[in-house]
Amino acid sequence: MKVPVSITVNGKQYDKMVEPRLLLVYFLREELALTGTHIGCDTSSCGACTIHLDGKALKSCTMLAVQANGKSVTTIEGMANGEELHPLQEGFHMEHGLQCGFCTPGMIMCAADMLKNNPNPSEEEIRHGLEGNFCRCTGYHNIVKSIQYAAKKMA
């Protein structure tokens, strides 16, 4: 009952046979072993599974792998350019925007989309933009600063 999908992930095309019910997040984690995308809630509430689909941030537990057929996915593993970190990755490091690191990939993917649409967000806009992502460690304080760091660097 498996069906074929062809999904480009971090610039590389993968042709796989998958169960129609397989969620995109399980495709990434289990079929491709890209375990940087995390599962925190099963109800699309926590944002730990946020990836980019054709350049837009999306919770990968919200869609099926078959719905991503023919599309292009970017995960946290695809954000750095070789050894050169993405400004958001650098920002999270420099501003201590992470503690346990579990929500971090989703935060970074969400923030990357946010900054694409609004390169110079206010603190209020950043906080509003992060509304779909839970962090239980940082109280969000340093996540806001991390995104401000990246916005400045990318300007």
Binding site: T35, G40, Q89, M94, H96, Q99, F134
Partner: protein, 788 residues
């Protein structure tokens, strides 16, 4: 370079920001199978029959175990690690907590069967086809109701569901007499509601039995690998401890919920030997909600008595503490020795009596959640203080200052002996409150508050000053209080021939940044670059022993163990250096990575000494080769951080919406190794403490269902619910550990909650109310304002 005291960026970050963190669910072993638990949907129900016949035949199913199988294997269940006796001396009631229940389910989520299949989807499909016949019984979820005659009995042999009762402090008659004769008495009856820890990584465990070596490996999302091994081997499965390796890899937040030994850990280990294949179990979020030990859940009546000048005369408190359906690993300690012992607060209260009934209910177990007992104590005291100030027409800050214990450093002045068993190590309380008042601009605020009245907004300010007990804990002391374990820590400092250093710590980092702050300590004390130091933790085959991370103990206890080992390394290194320099040990100084003969240019570098230790050709006679030391550090006392939290809320009168406008925190956690990391710990604690005040809380219906058991229903603070925090600190070193540190992990969560509620009460003081129940939702506030 001086590393201690500087905000060194974290060395562990790289793997997390690039998606290379390795959490338990990320691990895949050859031939691995997947488990799905069949859980009771009922809070209280006899299990009449479990039919696995159809499920067993389904695609991919490898094996299904039920309670009959674990009963037949003679597995008794997971133990409790702390014994608290009844007031009359009887041992607490400790009914078994089976891995899989065969007789009756005692809370919604109790596991009845473990279905193992080739994929998780197949296991889940088959779990749905396990047919369980129940005889549903009435359930009880409220600890006060459960205590009453005629309430449903969670365990047949525990009358009135009372696990134990407990009392501490001055005789109740003396306290009651002082209260009866007092000028003013403030009384509060309140619920400190159940909250769910909600680490964003759901719990996960992989059991692997390696038939080649007859050895088990458990990968588990734990704060506490060695203790899990000890409990599981000695008390659950009866397997030899040296044949079990427990690994706590990267762990996505704990906050207490991952301290404890859970049934699923023992199940996947036991099951992996039955089927001779690895088994992975990972909780879905709704499963975490009903199986992770929760926090708080106290129903309390407290009285604080004052003389006419506002001096505190006495305090009494009576609490029903909900234990849930079973006693979790440290549960009995939380409402007793981590709560009652903190009711002195920072005040000179001369008479205190605290009484606790620990009660079983048909709910998920309750145990330590960030702060564990100390947030409940602080909430009790600090709500009383602000309420008393309001009732007596006193300023809440002044009332506190008047009653503070005078400064003591634990060196020149003795520690402070409380009425409730503890001796505080050092404290200087007025400066944190005064600094907080300065930061908030107290006088200006009161003017703004008046001005806001005409705008449809209500402003309120709330105070909270706290002292807590960290650095858990002196083994003999906790042993006398019922702990069934020591609470020391161990560390090995292994110097390699090239002078590089591996440090094996029994503490476990799950966000605290030990790989950085511990390395700062090692590099500074040894005078070597941080890059030459690696911190290894979380693997019982690498680290000889450990007691894990909780109770803000890692640096105070684990860090002290590291310092002890470093001292041994440097002492032996000096002997080798003296030999190489043809000098006496007494004539050597050690600084910046080399031993120098005092008053000369003659020196030998650390790397030359380490090489000599492993290539001992020219070597002191009688000295063993090698440079590698282990130490165990058992603290002399708890540590006692303290602080002042001030919250400003704005309430929209029309909607009742409460907005936390500003939050000021001045904490004193002793000496600070890495200010950036300490600030981060405070931020996170504040968010959780504030969350309990205004949005979080488990809600059960009458049948015992947790009705908000998903992230769609359980409200936690999101980024736009919180302000940026304004924080500062004072430094009062701990007098009894080598680093002078006290611990920062829980402070934010301990102080914050009452500050928020006090601020709401201050905003609503014109509405003639005495208290408001947490969480302070906009609906509750709207009802107060509009008389709904």
């Amino acid at each position: 370079m001086t590393y201690i005291g500087s905000s060194v960026k974290r060395v562990e970050d790289k793997r997390f920001i690039t998606g290379q963190g390795r959490y338990t669910d990320d691990i895949v072993l050859p031939q691995m199978t997947y488990a799905c638990m069949v859980r009771s949907p009922h809070a209280h129900a006899e299990i009449v029959n479990v039919d696995i016949s159809h499920a067993s035949q389904m695609d991919g199913v490898v094996k299904i175990f039920t309670g009959k199988d674990t009963d037949a294997a003679g597995i008794g269940g997971v133990p409790c690690g702390w014994q608290v006796d009844f007031k009359n001396g009887d041992t607490m009631k400790e009914p078994p907590h089976p891995l899989l229940v065969s007789d009756k389910a005692r809370h919604a989520g109790d596991a009845i069967a473990m279905v193992i299949a080739e994929t998780y989807a197949q296991a889940k499909d088959a779990a749905e086809m396990v047919i369980v016949e129940y005889n549903v019984l009435p359930a009880v979820t409220n600890s006060k109701i459960a205590r009453a005659d005629g309430a449903p009995q969670v365990h047949a042999d525990v009358p009135n569901n009372l696990a134990f009762d407990w009392e501490l402090g001055n005789p109740r008659e003396e306290v009651d007499a002082a209260i009866a004769g007092a000028h003013h008495v403030t009384t509060l009856e309140f619920i400190n509601q159940r909250v769910i820890c909600n680490a964003i990584e759901p719990r996960s465990a992989i059991g692997h039995f390696d038939t080649a070596y007859d050895k088990y490996t458990l990968y588990t999302s734990t704060q506490n690998p060695h203790l899990i091994r000890l409990l599981m081997c000695a008390f659950v499965l009866g397997i030899p401890e040296h044949k079990v390796r427990v690994v706590g890899p990267d762990v996505g937040g704990g906050f207490g919920s991952k301290i404890f030994h859970y049934t699923e850990e023992a199940l996947v280990i036991w099951g992996s030997n039955q089927i001779k294949r690895p088994i992975k179990w990972t909780a879905e979020r709704s499963e975490s909600f009903v199986t992770d030990a929760a926090g708080r859940d106290h129903i309390t009546t407290a009285k604080m008595a004052f003389d006419k000048d506002g001096n505190i005369l006495a305090l009494s408190s009576d609490t029903f503490a909900n234990m849930g359906a079973y006693l979790s690993t440290f549960a009995p300690a939380v409402p007793t020795y981590l709560h009652g012992t903190l009711l002195q607060g920072l005040y000179t209260t001369p008479l205190i009596n605290v009484s606790v009934d620990a009660v079983f209910t048909n709910t998920t177990a309750v145990d330590a959640y960030r702060g564990a007992g100390r947030p409940e104590a602080t909430y009790l005291l600090e709500r009383l203080m602000d309420t008393a100030a309001l009732e007596m027409g006193r300023d809440p800050a002044e009332l506190r200052l008047q009653n503070f214990i005078a400064p003591f450093d634990g060196v020149e002045q003795e520690g402070y002996q409380t009425q409730v068993a503890l001796q505080y190590d050092s404290g200087n309380y007025a400066p944190v409150l005064k600094r907080g008042l300065e930061m908030v601009g107290y006088e200006q605020f009161r003017a703004d508050q008046k001005a806001a009245e005409s705008t449809g907004k209500l402003l309120g300010i709330g105070f909270s000053t706290y002292v807590e007990a960290c650095g858990i804990a002196p083994s003999a002391v906790v042993g006398a209080l019922g702990a069934r374990a020591g609470l020391f820590e161990s560390a090995q400092v292994q110097v390699h021939p090239t002078g590089k250093v591996s440090v094996y710590s029994g503490s476990h980092s799950h966000g605290q940044g030990h790989e950085t702050s511990f390395a700062q300590v090692v590099a500074d004390k040894m005078g070597i670059p941080m890059e030459d130091v690696e911190i290894i933790h979380g693997d019982s085959d690498a680290v000889a022993f450990g007691m894990g991370t909780y109770g803000s103990r890692s640096l105070a206890v684990g860090g002290s163990a590291i310092v002890k080992s470093i001292e041994k390394v440097l002492e032996k290194g000096a002997k080798i250096a003296a030999h190489l320099l043809e000098a006496s040990v007494d004539d050597l100084d050690y600084a910046e990575g080399k031993w120098t003969v005092r008053g000369t240019e003659k020196s030998v570098a650390f790397g030359d000494v380490s090489l000599t230790a492993y290539v001992p050709h020219n070597y002191p006679e009688g000295l063993e080769p090698g440079l590698d030391f282990s130490s165990f550090y058992d603290p002399a006392n708890f540590t006692y951080p303290f602080g002042c939290h001030i919250c400003i809320v704005e309430i929209d009168k029309e909607s009742g919406v409460v907005k936390v406008k500003r939050f000021i925190a001045v904490d004193d956690v002793g000496n600070v190794i890495n200010p950036m990391i300490v600030d981060g710990q405070i931020h996170g604690g504040l968010a959780q403490g504030i969350g309990q005040a205004f949005c979080e809380g488990a809600v059960y219906d009458e049948s015992g269902q947790l009705v908000n058991g998903t992230y769609m229903d359980y409200v936690m603070p999101r980024a736009d619910d919180l302000p940026s925090f304004e924080i500062d600190r004072t430094v009062t070193p701990c007098p009894h550990n080598p680093l002078g540190v006290k611990g920062a992990g829980e402070a934010g969560c301990i102080g914050a909650t009452p500050a928020v509620v006090n601020a709401v009460m201050d905003a609503l003081k014109g509405y003639g109310i005495h208290d408001v129940e947490m969480p302070v939702t906009s609906q509750k506030v709207w009802n107060i304002i509009h008389g709904g």
